[in-house]
Each structure stands twice: as structure tokens, then as C-alpha cells.
């Protein structure tokens, strides 16, 4: 495995400071594996505690469609953002704003009887709105050099406020029936359409993160932004793209949300940003940047969803679910910190 051209440098292998890299590289994959085992454990536990009720096609479909599909779109974007050592608190508000724009557009174009052409236009308008907020976030973070926490805290308030101004605080109704019936609650091959869409987007961006230059630059910037700059990577441009992507995905989430609930749910989604962050972190992505996978995020998003669903089925008081998710999250971050310390001690 080691090609040494020059003899006399045999000490290279037995360098006292060099640790056996095999153990540590396994640890990298370990955190995602660990949370995956936790998820499997939960599934098994709930299946045993509620036989015939938890592990049914209906229930799995419900978990996927209700608690995972829409939030996963936010979490995919959030994965990219957190890998760059950034954060985006505005995703829930951008979701709502995009849904409002899409809803208003669809109502203006025809309301409940609108055909697919109009629906597509409305959806594009909504996604465009999400993209715009993402670009704004990116510009302020990359060019104006304002910390991501502050910028996205601002856009969290601004996007929600804008949505409330546009609607007067009143949810938009009269959403096209074709959208809500066919897409929102409709299925294809036994799987809800919104799950198909969410899964497709997740797989695509999982591949992008793992196998493309765009993904490589995301990791590089999160690991050492200054180094990336010095080798010629356009860091500012890339950051804008990452936040823009997150905004676009939040826009898509807003449209799917509109389809599923046939209303804009302005009062909801206020903790979606934290749920997305939790999913990303649970999945093994480090808040310090440079490390993370989409696969991990998918696992991470299922854990709280399965917990909530299982607790309701078992009749456990729902407050315990919040406690459980919180505990798992802290444990995951602690484990990540411990791992990081072990790695960086060279």
C-alpha cells in the first residue's frame, strides 16, 4: 500500500505521531451508522410494542408523507448550508412565503378550478420566491460578510412578516382542486406523490453532494474557506449558490405544503428550521462544517418522526416525545464533538 521510492525513509511509516488512520476513518462513518442503528432500534421496539399497528404500509406511508416529505426538502438544503459551516434559520418562513405567493398566483389565475398549466405557473412563482430569499441570504452572508445566524434570523422574520402582510394574516384558500387532490393527497404505485417528489430531490442532491465538484467545493469551504480561496475557488459565489439552493428547496416545500393542506398554514412551520437542523445534525453532519451526508440527514429526519408517531400509537403523553428527541440530539452532538476532538488531537 505504501510506495516508497527512496530507501532510508522507512521511518515514514513508523512516524511516532502518525495514528493508525484506519480506526479513525471508520469513526467518521460511525456516527451516521450509530444513528441508523438507533432508528432501526426504534422501529423494532415500536413494532414489538404495537404489533400490527406500527409497521403497516398505511402507517409508514403516513410517517413519510406527513412528517418527512416536506421537512426533508428543507433538511437537504440545510445539509449543504451546515457543511459550509453556515446555518439557515429562515427555511420555515420562506416555505410559508413561497406557499403564499404560489397560492395567491393560483387563486388569481383561476382558483379551485385551475388547470395544470396555471398550477405550474403558480408553483414556479412560489419556487422563484423561495429562490429569491435564498439569493438574498447568500448575498448578505457572502458579500456583506454578515454572520449566517444573523442574516437568516432577519430573513426568518422578514419572510414571515411579508407573508402576513400579503395575506393580512388570513390563510389563502380556494387552492386548485387538481393540485390538492392529485398531488397533495394522491398516490402513485401506493406511494404519495409528495413522497416521490421529495425522494427524487433528495437522491439527486445526495448525488450532487457526494460526486460533483459543487459538492466537493461545499465540503472544502466548510473545512477551510481560506484555503479554498487561496486555490482559486470562488467561495463567495459558491456560498450564494448554496443558500439559493436552500431557498429554492424551501420554495418547493411551500408548494407541496400548499398542495397537501389546501391552505398556506401561515401559523405553522415556526419550528421547522430547528427540526431541519436537528435532522441534519442527528445524521452526522458537523455544525463546524466540512463533514456530512444526505444519507445521514434522511436517517436523522426519520428519528423524531418515528418517535412522535410511535408515541401517539402507544398513547404516551406527547411531551415525552420532545424530551426524547432532545436527548437524542444532545447525545448525537456530544458524540460528534468527542469524535472531532479525537481526530484533531494530532
Amino acid at each position: 500500500m505504501t510506495e516508497l521510492i527512496t530507501p532510508g525513509l522507512a521511518e515514514a511509516d513508523t512516524d511516532a505521531d502518525s495514528r493508525p488512520s484506519t480506526v479513525l476513518s471508520r469513526l467518521g462513518a460511525l456516527s451516521t451508522l450509530w444513528i441508523f442503528l438507533v432508528l432501526v432500534g426504534l422501529v423494532i421496539a415500536f413494532s414489538l410494542l404495537a404489533p400490527g399497528k406500527f409497521l403497516t404500509a398505511f402507517n409508514i406511508r403516513s410517517i413519510a408523507a406527513d412528517s418527512v416529505a416536506i421537512l426533508l426538502l428543507l433538511a437537504v438544503g440545510m445539509t449543504f448550508v451546515i457543511i459550509t459551516a453556515g446555518i439557515d434559520l429562515s427555511v420555515g418562513s420562506v416555505l410559508i412565503f413561497s406557499g403564499v405567493i404560489a397560492g395567491k398566483a393560483m387563486v388569481a389565475l383561476g382558483g379551485t378550478d385551475l388547470g395544470w398549466g396555471g398550477i405550474t405557473l403558480g408553483a414556479l412563482a412560489g419556487m422563484g420566491a423561495g429562490l429569491a430569499w435564498g439569493i438574498l441570504n447568500g448575498l448578505l452572508i457572502a458579500k456583506a460578510r454578515i454572520p449566517p445566524l444573523i442574516v437568516t434570523l432577519g430573513s426568518l422574520g422578514a419572510a414571515l412578516g411579508a407573508a402576513q402582510i400579503i395575506t393580512g394574516g388570513v390563510d389563502v384558500r380556494n387552492i386548485p382542486l387538481k393540485l390538492t387532490v392529485k398531488l397533495g393527497i394522491g398516490q402513485f404505485a401506493g406511494v404519495p406523490w409528495i413522497v416521490w417528489i421529495s425522494a427524487l430531490v433528495t437522491v439527486v442532491f445526495g448525488l450532487v453532494l457526494a460526486f460533483t465538484r459543487f459538492g466537493r467545493y461545499t465540503y472544502a469551504i466548510g473545512s477551510n474557506a481560506e484555503a479554498a480561496r487561496r486555490v482559486g475557488i470562488r467561495v463567495d459565489r459558491h456560498l450564494i449558490k448554496v443558500y439559493a439552493l436552500t431557498g429554492l428547496l424551501a420554495g418547493l416545500a411551500g408548494v407541496l405544503n400548499l398542495a397537501r393542506f389546501s391552505t398556506t398554514t401561515i401559523g405553522g412551520h415556526s419550528t421547522d428550521n430547528l427540526s431541519a437542523i436537528a435532522a441534519v445534525v442527528l445524521g452526522g453532519t458537523s455544525l463546524f462544517g466540512g463533514v456530512g451526508t444526505i444519507f445521514g440527514t434522511v436517517v436523522g429526519i426519520f428519528v423524531p418522526a418515528v418517535l412522535q408517531n410511535g408515541f401517539v400509537i402507544l398513547g404516551v403523553q406527547s411531551y415525552w416525545q420532545s424530551v426524547a428527541v432532545g436527548a437524542v440530539l444532545v447525545a448525537a452532538v456530544y458524540f460528534d464533538q468527542w469524535r472531532r476532538r479525537a481526530r484533531e488531537s494530532t
Binding site: L33, G52, K53, L55, D171, F261, T265, G267, A305
Partner: protein, 326 residues
């Protein structure tokens, strides 16, 4: 990496096998055979004393009728949070469900699925637009409640001035009816101006902010009608903060412990109390009757009571006061 994928794929295979061998999908038969019937109450929101009292009444009825009752609800009055809970309850396959839907439209698909699963549904308090999904709907006569509130407020402000309705969110059947009842009654009353309705999204902080803003804009504000518990709480806070509790009269809807405090200390002048305890009781009773195959009344309305400082300690009023725990 390859090893991880292998583990993932094999585990997924195990799960699919278990689920395939497991139960049928869309579980069509309800809960236990023979044994005790199991019911679930899905509240509109966990934290509201109205729903807590409803759960108390439901628990009491469940105990006396010999059925199991689980209680669950979302943290916010939000369809997005309630829908996953509804679907989880459907997977649980209880015999009957009492539900307070948080949106007249968004809850229709999950409730339809629940009905197809063979679960009997009783709507409590709020309802969805499709009334074929439930066997019965039990609620307060909210329209009449709004009328009663208007009459009470008009008397309190001495027949003149501006009044403001602070509502929760449009699209909620109950609060919309209260606001409408109030509005219709005010329109009939000369000397009183109705200011445009404001919405709080069920957040007390928002209600307080609306009150402060209205006071600055309309100094002649004489009365406020707050259409539910959290809204009344917030409105009272807003008045206290502005020091206007003597000048502006509030009629609140719902009588939680904090509101009763406010009533006794003079911050709120009257409370239109619903009977959530009774709703809970009747809900369970109706569900049990439906499960036994008896005919049930499709629409059941419960009473209201106007509580003021004068009658608050009377046994009649005490029945209507909400609890924050059973």
C-alpha cells in the same frame, strides 16, 4: 462506504419482510375484539385550558362508562401539526375518535382515511366542511355565544363607543361563528361602532400587541370582545400594560383560571363560558352509543353562561369554569 450501504440495504430488506408478513394495510377492523372499547381524544391544542377541561370531562365519562381513553394533541392550533397525529391515531386503530379539527378543509383527507379504517368519529368543538365524516358533532352554540357577548358588552359600555373583536384565525368554525354572532348583534345596536376584526393566530402576545396598537389609533375604544382563552389573556395583558383596564371593558370567551382571576380583579368584565367539560362528556357518551349501534343525534349543542364578578362564586357559574388540570 460500501459496508454502510450493505447494512442499510439488508436492514431495509428485514423491515420490508416484517411489514409484509405483518398486518394488512389500511387496517380495517377497529381495535380489540370483545374487551374494553378504546377511544382517543385529539384536542385542537394541548395547552389550552378549554381542551384540558374537555379532556377532564371525557376522562370522567370514560371511567363511568368503562372504556379506555387516550388523549393527544398538537402543540399549536395548526393543521400541519395535527395531521400527523391524526394519521398516527388511525394507525393505532381505536374504536372511536373524538376530534377537534384545526382546519375546516385540511383535516378532511386524514379524517376520511380514519373513517375508511372503520373508526367512528365524533367532532367536538370545531368541525370540518364535510359533515358526512363524523357520526355526530358536539359544540357550543357559538353563534348564540357571540350574540350573548355582544349584548353583555353593550350593557357594560353603556351603549356607546367603539368596540373591537379580536379573533383567532379565519377558517375555524367556532370562533368564526362567535365573531359573526357578535357582529350581527352590534350592527343592530345603534350608538356602537364596530372596528375591523383583528386576528391573533392564537398567540397571546399578538393579542396584546393588537390592543396596544388599537388604543393608540382609536382612543375612544370602549369595549373588546376576545373570542377565545389565549386571546382574552393577551388582550387583558395589553390593557394592563397600557393602564387602560378601567377605561376599556373586555368580554372574553371562555373561562380559564387566569380569566377568572382577571374577572375577579376587574381586568375583564364578563366571560362567556362554554361547557368544555360537558362537550367532553357528551362526546364520549355519543361515541359509546354509536359503537353500540344506537342512533345518535347528528348535531348536539351545549350551553353557554355569562359569568360576571357578581355571579362568579355561584354554583351555576362554578360548573362552567375551566380547569388547567383535572
Amino acid at each position: 462506504m460500501r459496508r454502510r450501504v450493505l447494512v442499510a440495504v439488508s436492514t431495509l430488506a428485514v423491515i420490508t419482510t416484517i411489514s409484509a408478513c405483518g398486518s394488512s394495510d389500511d387496517g380495517n377492523s377497529g381495535g380489540t375484539s370483545g374487551g374494553k372499547k378504546s377511544l382517543t381524544l385529539i384536542q385542537g391544542t394541548k395547552a389550552d385550558e378549554f381542551y384540558v377541561t374537555m379532556a377532564c370531562g371525557a376522562q370522567a365519562a370514560a371511567q363511568s362508562l368503562g372504556v379506555n381513553l387516550d388523549v393527544t394533541g398538537p402543540e399549536k392550533f395548526d393543521a400541519g401539526q395535527q395531521v400527523p397525529i391524526v394519521n398516527s391515531v388511525t394507525a393505532k386503530k381505536p374504536d372511536a375518535v373524538l376530534i377537534a379539527p384545526t382546519d375546516t378543509k385540511a383535516l378532511i383527507p386524514p379524517m376520511t382515511q380514519m373513517k375508511s379504517a372503520g373508526i367512528k368519529i365524533v367532532e367536538v368543538d370545531t368541525a370540518v366542511e364535510d359533515n358526512s365524516l363524523s357520526v355526530a358533532a358536539i359544540s357550543t352554540d357559538n353563534l348564540g355565544g357571540g350574540t350573548l357577548a355582544a349584548q353583555t358588552l353593550v350593557k357594560l359600555v353603556g351603549g356607546k363607543g367603539s368596540v373591537l373583536v379580536i379573533n383567532v384565525n379565519p377558517g375555524i368554525s367556532t370562533t368564526d361563528a362567535r365573531a359573526k354572532g357578535f357582529d350581527d348583534e352590534i350592527k343592530k345596536t345603534s350608538g356602537i361602532t364596530a372596528l375591523p376584526v383583528e386576528y391573533t393566530n392564537d398567540e397571546p402576545a399578538k393579542a396584546a400587541a393588537i390592543v396596544s396598537a388599537t388604543l393608540s389609533k382609536h382612543p375612544d375604544l370602549a369595549g373588546i370582545f376576545a373570542t377565545n382563552v389565549l386571546t382574552a389573556e393577551g388582550a387583558a395583558t395589553g390593557l394592563r400594560a397600557a393602564g387602560k383596564q378601567d377605561q376599556v371593558k373586555i368580554v372574553g370567551f371562555d373561562a380559564g383560571p387566569q380569566q377568572i382571576q382577571d374577572l375577579k380583579s376587574g381586568v375583564v368584565q364578563a366571560l362567556i363560558a362554554q361547557d368544555p367539560y360537558g362537550i367532553g362528556q357528551k362526546g364520549v357518551q355519543t361515541a359509546v352509543d354509536a359503537l353500540a349501534g344506537k342512533d345518535v343525534q347528528k348535531q348536539i349543542q351545549t350551553e353557554l353562561f355569562a359569568i360576571t364578578k357578581d355571579n362568579v362564586d355561584s354554583p351555576d357559574a362554578q360548573k362552567f369554569i375551566y380547569k388547567d388540570k383535572c
